[in-house]
Symmetry: C2
Subunit: 358 residues, 2 copies
Amino acid sequence: MTDTTDMTECAPRPRGQVLGEGYEAAEILTSARLCVDPELRAAVESLPGSLRRIALYHFGWEHADGTPAAGNVGKAIRPALVLAAVRALGGDPLSAVRAAAAVELTHNFTLLHDDVMDRDATRRHRPTAWTVFGDSDAILAGDALQALAQRLLAEDPHPGAPAAAARLAACVVELCAGQQADRALESRGPDEVSLTECLAAAEAKTGALLGCACAIGAVYAGAGADEVEALDGFGRQAGLAFQLIDDVIGIWGDPTRTGKPARADLAARRKSLPVVAALASGTPEGAALAGLYGRGSDQGDLDRMARAVEGAGGRDWAQLHAADRMSRALGELARAVPDPERAGGLLALAEFVTRRSH
Amino acid sequence: MTDTTDMTECAPRPRGQVLGEGYEAAEILTSARLCVDPELRAAVESLPGSLRRIALYHFGWEHADGTPAAGNVGKAIRPALVLAAVRALGGDPLSAVRAAAAVELTHNFTLLHDDVMDRDATRRHRPTAWTVFGDSDAILAGDALQALAQRLLAEDPHPGAPAAAARLAACVVELCAGQQADRALESRGPDEVSLTECLAAAEAKTGALLGCACAIGAVYAGAGADEVEALDGFGRQAGLAFQLIDDVIGIWGDPTRTGKPARADLAARRKSLPVVAALASGTPEGAALAGLYGRGSDQGDLDRMARAVEGAGGRDWAQLHAADRMSRALGELARAVPDPERAGGLLALAEFVTRRSH
């Protein structure tokens, strides 16, 4: 990965001049995956055997019995944001492949731990690591991935590496606080949570790492403090838009595409953003939802809940609020990267995550 | 902490010329605590409120209800080793206070997580964090402490900081593998574990971080690769000696001094090193111990177990083997620091941890 003249694999060039059409998000994601996977896999392969096995399973590179698997490692949105941010600010994406891998390792450390805490049994269409290896091994594999992420940055001679490492570590603290706030909200009654608290938790839990990914890209491009902060803001706002859409999908998504059971978030009584908006709506449907949330349910009840969220305006609110966050994200992006053509890659990624239907 | 002319607080000067008497370990530990605590506390205070509370409780700076406590943060052996290693290799200990705090944060991250996994209910004479705040909050606080440790190093302008960060991250991976191996050994039958496996797990779980502390000190002193590795070896071997003595204390220690119930390791059927040595001894007492380990027990049985470990030679073996590891530690130390006077601080610390009786 030292040849900086041929970047076709790592960052496709725009094929058109029209904003939003110049880059294909799917192509950017695939390119990022091609670039970052070798670094990511090498880091995971460097783990001692027993920890390596858990991590290889988690990333989808091995089955539970240790035989090779095709890999099903998610959409790589965060590493793609790192590389796209470098490119948008005039840097060399290839210089930031290690940093992009560090961000993805950090994301996966939090997934391993969150699944243990939340007792989530399925991720990416497969049983979660703790269900296969037990809580302790999943915790230890997560701990090791956080360490690997920091090791990659500590060993990176790029002048931006220490600042990126400090940002990533600060982001982990925010992610932990977000997960903690999210769990605290989930433990309260349906009438005891406010939309403001839920949005703050979502920003810390989801927005922070997307913002950090973009900011690290800016750091690697040698951008100034203002541009770095604007890109952090861009990622944060896009991350909140992403979470809002994700919460809509958690209620109305197609199980064959999401890999989760239908109405999963309702069955788990999650206080997702559309639900909390509905509960706070002051509408009869909101009151009905609060009643349904307080007791056991069958599939008919779950469908009734979904209709109540929709009737109370929770679905529309989430989609409008996602659009609002997206608009703020674009404002931040324009502040850091005024040239729309250069901003195209980041724009395509932000639109991809908020337009997806599964 | 920018005054480098007055180091009396951070690193007491030798009061005599005789090896081992020139430094008082207790004084070195107290000095290290005085130096490192402000940095450590500032890092913990930087956490968001809900995570901060857990960390302040864990470090003994707050009671469970959030009221201030005197602090009972352990012996600070690891930060003392960092500072003593810097001094032994001719560096300025004050330059490594942040690194010493990072090592102590890392140690405490592993304590928080290990206590969750091992269901240990007491640490430093107090209920463990997970018993007070729940598993998830203890896991999240541990995650945040690992991140804080790396953040301290990433923000440290010292030229040794990136190498120290990389070593610390690699060490965390080894600590995780050690904890995993330790748990795997504990889940096996008494006749299914070998002393070699147990020693390897103890080296990874305990020796690695003591070695890393010393190596980081050497890095901060600007030492060459050979000296850094020798100091890592010194810490590792002293760490194994420490673990062997700790395991002896886990059976024969005085509960009023250890803060743990009498015979705690036997009651928990831990495969500590004296126990495994006894089980592997081929003696009638070893066979009797295997029988006792396989079933429920009252206090009389625990006393019988302790006598069986002793009768099978497990206690003597552990003490002799600790002495052997200590001798290897001193060999490594002499390789890096041939001048016994300069090595005095590290020597005093190593002797302290292996001579303690509680």
